[in-house]
């Protein structure tokens, strides 16, 4: 009886699943269309097996579980189609099918064990059921396939047991095949496949990209760090994303690929601080919006401080509703949720499905700012200032160099023949604390004999804050003006102590015709050390320091090594924080979050300072004016906060002394790598 039933079951499941899949595809295609690039489908297997698994493999146990379950399932399904579906009952294939089912069964057992007492980052509901379904499918497939290799317990041929077996198999097929198309947990495999193929940032998968790291371990980012925000067409009919259908269809597809693994939730600083943002829930909200309905079916942690709460499995969701053409804010997602994000990209870095949370958040912010004019108060003030004075403080831009009156900084205007280094000061030039850092940096450059100059009052804010707050119009205006200014002068490269300027100038101006070699000061100082152009005295007393990776230097631009190199050159032992490098926790100051200032349970910089304290360090080295400001805002007593430039400048051996004390290599300018 099963012999006749099986093909019917399999094909029926496939047909129903396919119908669901078509419907799902329609949902994605509600988004803004872009030209279809079908050939990208061919890229999928590599992206899946390679890039995705590298991220998953940061957690070994899960990686093995996933390989066993997913691999087993794909193999078992394919073989079952041949063997049971088309009836090519070959014993060898049967054996392989058995092996695949067994493999899947083992994986499913591991999944099941994890589900006995799941960590809070995981969702319950259908996801709790999935492990059982996996077992059902694998067991069912195993048992129905036994006759193929001749060990057929004849009892299976008919009677009650056969019906039970068929039921189990139906359950498995429903979950695995029908559910895949109709939005069950297995949807992630189906959507994920297409998502990987049509990802909006293909550079992320490009191992041969010039930016890609040559090292290929799980801990390094694989392809290029494609982190620049996409430019917004300011002549478009609506600006930014108001309703789910305003997303590009690839973005909707991406949301659908989420497996609710909660890795993003675990690393999100805003979530940890109790601000009403859970990136995982946000992605699920987008899925709700795309499909229409309410979030009542969501079974994970919600946005803190909102209905549903953060405890998993508590009822309470259902207040937020959405539809593909309904406004997202505030019915589906509250504005505070969007403004809480620091754009630290920790979630993106961690997401195994390569979902782009930050793009989505900024897209929605763009609508709020450009169309609704509802940027949080201080953010709006900063934008107004940027429009009027080119800096967020509303200060006279001509006073940008006031702090350096005694330093007599060389002006690039006086150097028509060009300079090696254009020192980009950033808005830190208006901040008394950061002026100390800049002084130190100038001292280092002078000691190293670097040929540098500054733009002075012609320098404007890079537009970072405006862009992250969603004001693309102001950003583009600033970018255009800065690019026009820069085009008038000649310099080999730009050096800046501000990772935000570094990122924007280096990565985001390209789209507007500004291509520059930009170096963060940590990189540049490390090069000066390498070239032997500066030397330092050994520290007089041993001190434990730790280093805080700025998001816009590390995760955004992959510079983890240079700052550590500089600290090593200073002879300092770095006690790393648990979350450092690509997993560094944000200081809370990025993305305009310091301006929107969404209240939470704790403050993000306080939490970061706790991380610092845990290492026992007495000094935390920083490399960003924003991090400095945020961390210095932590109430004393606390470890000292010092910029790398300050630490180097203090230990610097003056050039005259250098020639006596150490046999420093010649400091001629010709040696410079131009």
């Amino acid at each position: 009886m099963l012999q006749t039933l099986l093909p019917i079951l399999i094909f029926a499941a496939l047909a129903v699943g396919a119908a669901g899949a078509v419907r799902r595809i329609r949902l994605w295609r509600q988004g803004r269309r872009t030209p279809m690039r079908w050939h990208r489908l061919a890229l999928m297997p590599k992206r899946y097996l390679n890039d995705l698994h590298h991220v998953v493999a940061r957690d070994k146990a899960i990686a093995h579980t996933h390989v066993a379950t997913a691999g087993g399932f794909v193999a078992a399904m394919a073989l079952a189609l041949v063997v049971h579906g088309f009836g090519w009952r070959n014993p060898i294939l049967g054996g392989l099918l058995l092996a695949a089912s067994l493999c899947m069964f083992l994986g499913a057992l591991a999944v099941n064990r994890r589900r006995i007492d799941p960590p809070p980052k995981l969702s319950k509901g259908p996801w709790q059921r999935l492990s059982k379904s996996l077992i059902a499918y694998s067991v069912g497939m195993f048992l129905v396939s036994l006759p193929l290799v001749g060990v057929a317990p004849t009892v299976l041929g008919g009677g009650v047991l056969a019906i039970v077996l068929a039921a189990v198999l139906v359950w498995g097929l429903l979950e695995m095949v029908v559910g895949m198309g109709w939005g069950g947990p297995m949807k992630h495999a189906f959507a994920g496949t297409f998502h990987l193929a049509f990802h909006r940032r293909p550079e992320r998968f490009d191992d041969n990209h010039p930016d890609a790291s040559p090292k290929k371990t799980h801990d390094v980012h694989r392809g290029s760090r494609s982190t620049a925000l996409f430019p917004l067409d300011l002549t478009a009919k609506t600006l930014g994303v108001e309703k789910p259908a305003d997303f590009q269809w690839e973005q909707l597809l991406g949301f659908d690929a989420c497996v609710q693994c909660g890795r993003c939730q675990n690393v999100c600083p805003a979530y940890a601080a109790g601000q009403p943002l859970n990136p995982k829930k946000l992605i699920q909200d987008m899925v709700v919006g795309m499909a229409g309905g309410s979030d009542a079916g969501y079974a994970g942690s919600g946005h803190p401080q909102q209905a549903g709460g953060i405890e998993v499995g508590k009822p309470g969701f259902g207040n937020h509703r959405g539809g593909p053409t309904d406004a997202i804010v505030p019915q589906l997602v509250e504005a505070q949720t969007l403004w809480a994000c620091t754009t630290c990209r920790a979630c993106v870095e961690e997401c195994p499905m390569m979902i782009e949370h930050v793009d989505a958040i900024v897209d929605m912010r763009r609508f709020i700012t450009l169309e609704r004019g509802e940027t949080p108060e201080k953010g709006a003030a900063a934008i107004d200032n940027l429009i009027a004075t080119d800096n967020p403080g509303g200060l006279d831009n001509a006073s940008r160099l006031d702090w350096a009156a005694d330093l007599e900084l060389p002006r690039i205007q006086d150097r028509p023949e060009g300079v090696d280094v254009l020192l980009w000061l950033g808005d830190g030039a208006f901040d008394m604390r950061n002026q100390r850092t800049l002084r130190s940096l100038v001292k280092i450059l002078r000691t190293g004999g670097v040929d540098f100059a500054v733009l002075g009052e012609e320098e404007r804010d890079s537009g970072d804050v405006a862009r992250r707050l969603g004001d693309e119009a102001t950003f583009q205006r600033l970018a255009e003006r800065n690019i026009a200014t820069l085009s008038r002068y000649r310099f080999a490269r730009i050096v800046t102590a501000d990772p935000h300027s570094f990122h924007v100038l280096g990565r985001e101006y390209g789209a507007f015709g500004g291509d520059y070699v930009v170096k963060h000061h940590s990189t540049f100082i490390a090069e000066l050390f390498d070239g032997g152009r500066i030397s330092v005295t050994a520290p007089t007393q041993a001190e434990t320091v730790t280093y805080h990776d700025p998001c816009y230097l590390g995760r955004y631009n992959g510079e983890f090594a240079a700052p550590r190199q500089v600290l090593a050159a200073l002879g300092l032992e770095v006690a790393e924080m648990e979350r450092s490098g690509y997993r560094s926790r944000c200081c809370g100051g990025g993305g305009g979050a310091a301006l929107s200032d969404v209240p939470g349970r704790a403050r993000i910089p306080d939490m970061r300072m706790e991380d610092v304290r845990e290492t026992g360090a007495t000094t935390v080295a920083v490399a960003c004016p924003q991090c400095t400001a945020m961390l210095e805002g932590v109430v004393e007593p606390r470890p000292r906060i010092r910029d790398l430039a300050e630490m180097v400048a203090d230990a610097l051996v003056e050039p005259t002394a250098a020639t006596n004390a150490t046999s420093a290599p010649s400091q001629s300018r010709e040696e410079e790598p131009a």
Binding site: G393, M432, R433, A594, P599, R603, G633, V635
Partner: protein, 439 residues
């Protein structure tokens, strides 16, 4: 101000150049103001012959201090010269603000400006007041006073006042009108008058003589017969003196060396056609419905004139709120106090909160982070109350009291006669009392 009494002995010595102490008493005559208002200095009258026969001028003023001129009130208040103008050619009318019924500094500056316009042209400076019983016009520099208090009601009634001023215009045809350019008072009235005096359609040209009929607003300087008014977009306008001047504070030095008659005149006696101000009231377009009580806590922080700001050094928050109520101050807070949840975010002062402009800022228990100090950069007076004399807030403050904030605030309330209800929320007190009771 004390009235200078004549010392007959000194007077005699001053007149008699042969008097042995003549030079002591003659000293003030080295400098005087001439009839045309110019300060004159006689260098010969200065100084003394030194032991080597050379004349020495001691500009330190030490000798003056030593000399007993004028008896007890030596140099605190120099004598003013009485100026009387009996038959003025015309009038320069000043309409002072008189907040709280007194001349304020701005008013005195207006009179100073008026004197510059009047002196030397045989014009009288005439004060027009809507209040009676205002004193001090003599020293401020008014030759005449017109009291219009009978024609207007108390409260805000710009239209009736305008009508009254039109009467003055009819009676005196003043050469110039001077108002304080402050809204909503003098600046409003002055503009109303200017708009009324400007002939209809005159602003459109044709009649070239109306040039000076256009009021000069925000006048801040008078020099060489022309006024400088501050215009928009960082510009100044230099123009002939207009009929109606709306002047900013410090537009001129107040009168300090002369004393004037302040003779009260009646409009009716001055001729001219008087409209009845009372008639206009019926058609009044603006009716005063009275003052509205404003809770200092509801004034936006950025505008609050007086802020009592609290930081980490506050332990007794109830006491602090009470003190703010007693002092009538708006509440502010440091970032830390906000982060710790004692104060709402909207009350945070500083570069990361609100930039405040209070004329007086009292920081209690705030150590003064850079951002906080940036936020109070525009405050005129800063008072710090802090335990730590080395903190940055103390360095910034105009007055720093090194003491415990809670205790000082409690003492302030006590002193102002509104101690906090001690048996109420203050637990420590009741504890102590009960211990006393038990003992």
């Amino acid at each position: 101000m004390s009235v200078r009494r004549l010392d007959p002995h000194a007077e005699r010595a001053r007149r008699n150049r042969l008097h042995p102490r003549h030079h002591e008493f003659a000293r003030p005559a080295w400098r005087w103001t001439s009839a045309d208002g110019v300060t004159r200095i006689n260098p010969h009258a200065l100084g003394a012959i030194g032991p080597n026969g050379l004349k020495r001028i001691d500009r330190s003023g030490a000798a003056v201090e030593a000399s007993p001129v004028g008896g007890a009130s030596t140099s605190a208040e120099p004598a003013r010269r009485q100026v009387v103008i009996d038959q003025p050619e015309g009038h320069v009318v000043v309409v002072p603000e008189l907040p709280e019924g007194r001349l304020n500094d701005h008013d005195r500056d207006l009179f100073g400006l008026a004197r510059q316009l009047a002196d030397g042209h045989d014009l009288a400076v005439t004060a027009v007041t809507f209040l009676n019983g205002v004193s001090g016009f003599e020293d401020a520099g008014a030759d005449r006073v017109v009291d219009l208090s009978a024609m207007v009601t108390e409260g805000y009634d710009p239209e009736t006042r305008l009508a009254a001023l039109v009467d003055v215009e009819a009676a005196l045809s003043p050469r110039h009108w001077i108002f304080a350019d402050s809204l909503p008072d003098g600046g409003d009235l002055g503009r109303r008058l200017a708009a009324r005096l400007l002939p209809q359609g005159a602003s459109q040209g044709a009649n070239a003589s109306v040039g000076d009929a256009r009021p000069a607003t925000r006048v801040w300087q008078l020099s060489e017969g022309q006024t400088l008014s501050r215009a928009g977009d960082r510009q100044d306008i230099l123009r002939d003196v207009a009929r109606v001047l709306l002047a900013l504070p410090e537009c001129a030095e107040p009168v300090s060396e002369t004393r004037h008659e302040a003779r009260v005149i009646e409009l009716a006696t001055m001729g001219g056609e008087l409209s009845s101000a009372a008639n206009e009231v019926a058609a009044s377009g603006v009716i005063d419905r009275g003052r509205v009580a404003v809770d200092p806590q509801e004034i936006p922080l950025a505008q609050a004139p007086f802020i009592l700001s609290a930081g980490r050094g506050i332990g007794d928050w109830e006491g602090y709120h009470h003190a703010a109520r007693v002092l009538g101050a708006s509440e502010g807070a440091s970032r830390v106090a906000v982060d710790d949840g004692y104060m709402p975010r909207s009350r945070q002062v500083g570069a990361t909160g609100t930039f405040v402009t209070a004329s007086c800022y009292v920081a209690v228990g705030i150590s003064g982070a850079v951002q906080h100090l940036q936020g109070i950069a525009k405050c005129q007076r800063v008072i710090a109350i802090n335990n730590d004399p080395s903190c940055d807030m103390v360095k910034r403050a105009d007055l720093a009291l090194i003491a415990d904030g809670d205790a000082v605030l409690a003492a302030v309330c006590e002193r102002l006669g509104q101690p906090r209800d001690q048996t109420g929320s203050d637990g420590s007190w009741t504890d102590e009392e009960s211990r006393h009771a038990a003992a």
